[in-house]
């Protein structure tokens, strides 16, 4: 080998001739990996597309049960973390160790914030029986303290941020309809769906002539909104919601792992203007995960929001 005794830059692996080649390789590799990721999520988006185009109302109803405020907050959190990540790369290229370390830590903090918020969202769904898998919802026996717990939880629901006014209206409306006795026993942790907004949305849509006959047949029995049928469709929404956000969350966790490793390396001052490609490609990954969320947010959280906002028909 010709350059065995030559100057050997740190981080140059044996199969490469020079840093440029190595840098190109990892960049191309990362992009190929991202293409792979796109197709991975693409399968989910296809399922989403198929079902959403068939049951838009159920999707809207399900979506209204997500907390758009938290979703939006998380979007912002991720955007900030993307900024800090981009700046990390910037300072890595400049070889500024301290700035890198601080920015990586910030990125990690924001990433963690995202996951914490996600945790609250998930546990909210857990308490409301909205996890589409049986056995994975809070198990409540009728008349037990569990019931109390659920009730108190319920009164704490953070209503969608945007519609404080209207939402409280809806709430009182709903509240008056909900008899106090109506504590939903859920001994086997099944999926539960008690949303009057669902009825409202479907009725609105029906009035507006938006429902195709076929779609209506998916929701109605006896001229009445059939909770069972509607629930099935909403359940599909939540299934897709959980799989998509779950996989996204998994990607975040992996991202945090990468960040930890980056932090150690940056702490040791590994990166310089000559050698910073690990930072750069980790950044690519981080931004990609961010982009996925940029799409998930409107597609999952914001469906049919205006029905809630009272702007409907």
């Amino acid at each position: 080998m010709s350059h065995e005794h030559d100057y050997h830059p740190p981080g140059l692996q044996h199969q490469f001739e020079d840093m440029g080649q190595q840098q190109d390789s990892v960049t191309v590799g990362m992009w190929a990996f991202l293409v792979q990721e796109i197709m991975f999520f693409g399968g989910l988006f296809t399922a989403y597309l198929v079902f959403r185009s068939r049951y838009p109302m159920a999707f809207a109803a399900g979506s209204n049960h997500l907390d758009a405020f938290l979703g939006g907050l998380n979007t912002l959190v991720l955007i900030v973390s993307s900024l800090t990540m981009a700046l990390t790369v910037y300072y890595a290229q400049k070889g500024k160790r301290n700035a890198q370390v601080i920015l990586i830590i910030l990125t990690m903090i924001f990433g963690t914030t995202f996951l914490v918020v996600k945790y609250f969202e998930y546990s909210d769904k857990y308490h409301h029986g909205l996890v589409p898998f049986n056995g994975l919802n809070q198990k409540i026996k009728k008349g037990h303290e569990g019931g109390e717990a659920e009730k108190s939880e319920k009164s704490q629901i953070v209503l969608p941020f945007e519609t404080k006014a209207e939402a409280s209206e809806t709430k009182t409306e709903a509240g008056s309809e909900t008899k106090p006795a109506e504590v939903h026993a859920n001994p086997r942790g099944e999926f539960q769906w008690h949303d009057e907004n669902g009825v409202k949305i479907v009725h609105e849509a029906k009035k507006g002539g938006y429902l195709t006959p076929y779609e209506q047949s998916g929701y109605y029995t006896n001229g009445e909104y059939d909770n069972d049928k509607f629930t099935q469709k909403v359940r599909i929404f939540f299934y897709i919601y959980f799989v998509m956000t779950g996989l996204h969350g998994l990607h975040m966790v992996v991202g945090l792992g990468i960040m930890t490793w980056l932090l150690v390396m940056a702490w040791r001052g590994t990166y310089s203007a000559e050698y910073y490609s690990p930072v750069e490609i980790s950044g690519l990954y981080w931004h990609f995960v961010d982009i996925v969320w940029i799409f998930l947010f409107p597609l999952l959280y914001l469906l049919g929001r205006h029905f809630l906002a009272g702007g409907g028909h």
């Binding site: 006959p213 076929y214 001229g223």
Partner: protein, 345 residues
């Protein structure tokens, strides 16, 4: 009929469109031979003629020829388009059941086929059909995917839970033919099948009379409609009619409250019974109760048959010996209305 005294090399040809598939098959064999023989011949010829005469020789270089490349891209392409078109035409013929076909209902379940004739005859794993009559199978399944396959008729279609699929044929030869399940469905997939008996229409009539115990579906449907389920209380006609007029409705186009319309086919009637408010007909209130859970699949088929038998101006009487309503029957699969398109997000 097939016997096992000889080795068959070609299947029986027993339906009106079997020849089309066979000709398409021959055409493809022809194309295959037309390509295979020259290519194989060329390979042999070159391999022998230009066999190595000297170890590690360096023969003259030939780079390629764009003319040739274009030629052998275009020719296969054009030929393959004829294959596509031929296939598409044959497929079309098989896809749309002709109007006024005799209808037979099929329910697949692990691992048997249940058939019900228009006259109420039921059969399991055996299907008797008359020769020379268009027969349409309206099919569904209770559990997993299955597939009705009758090789002698060259036809086959998956049955899918949750929806109706159709298949039709016109048998041309009296005989006994294999009936298979061709979509893998679990343990006894290879046992899920039986025989199709094609009979002279006369014999078929006799067979129906001989074995026909119960009422025809139309009769059963009438009974359900008039008495058991009380549909007549709303749909009986006359001045007190609160429900939609059902006479002659089959095959027509109905408009819905709030826009939209649909063609009345088996599927639609079924939905109307299970799910009336899903599609409220213009001019009516959504008062019809759902009969979901109160009627079985078989009763549903009977009701559908009965409603199909109602012709305009005919008092709801019912039975005819040939259960072929002459209303145009829409194929459940191809009804034009798109289920998924417009929506409000």
């Amino acid at each position: 009929m097939q016997s096992n005294s000889w080795v068959p090399l070609f299947p029986d040809q027993a339906s009106s469109f079997a020849w089309q598939i066979d000709y398409l098959y021959f055409y493809l064999i022809l194309i295959s031979i037309a390509f295979a023989i020259p290519i194989v011949a060329a390979i042999f010829f070159f391999a022998i003629k230009y066999r190595e005469k000297e170890k590690f020789a360096t023969p003259e270089e030939i780079h390629g020829s764009t003319t040739l490349e274009i030629a052998w891209s275009i020719i296969p392409f054009v030929l393959s388009m004829t294959i596509f078109l031929g296939g598409a035409i044959v497929y079309f013929n098989q896809y749309r059941p002709p109007e006024n076909s005799m209808e037979i209902f099929v329910v697949g379940k692990q691992w048997m086929w249940k058939f019900q004739h228009g006259t109420g005859q039921r059969e399991i794993n055996e299907l008797h059909v008359p020769k020379g009559v268009n027969v349409k199978l309206t099919m569904t399944t209770e559990d997993v995917l299955h597939d009705v396959f009758i090789p002698a008729f060259r036809t086959k279609a998956d049955v899918v839970p949750g929806r109706y699929t159709t298949l039709w044929f016109n048998a041309t030869e009296v005989g006994k033919y294999h009936l298979y399940c061709a979509e893998y469905c679990g343990l006894n997939h290879s046992g899920m099948g039986g025989w199709v008996y094609v009979m002279e229409p006369k014999d078929f009539e006799n067979w129906l009379a001989g074995g026909g115990t119960g009422q025809t579906p139309t009769e059963i449907g009438k009974d359900l409609f008039m008495n058991k389920l009380g549909c007549a209380s709303c749909h009986a006609g006359g001045q007190n009619q609160r429900g939609a007029k059902l006479e002659g409705i089959f095959g027509t186009e109905v408009k819905f409250v709030g826009g939209g319309s649909a063609k009345v086919d088996e599927e639609y009637i079924r939905n109307s019974i299970l799910n009336p408010s899903g599609q409220v007909v213009e001019g009516f209130q959504p008062i019809m109760p759902s009969f979901k859970g109160q009627v079985t699949e078989e009763q549903l088929l009977a009701l559908v048959a009965y409603i199909k038998s109602l012709t305009p101006n005919s008092a709801p009487t019912g039975t005819t010996s040939t259960p072929a309503p002459s209303t145009p029957s829409a194929n459940a699969n191809t009804a034009t209305k798109s289920a998924a398109a417009n929506s409000n997000k």
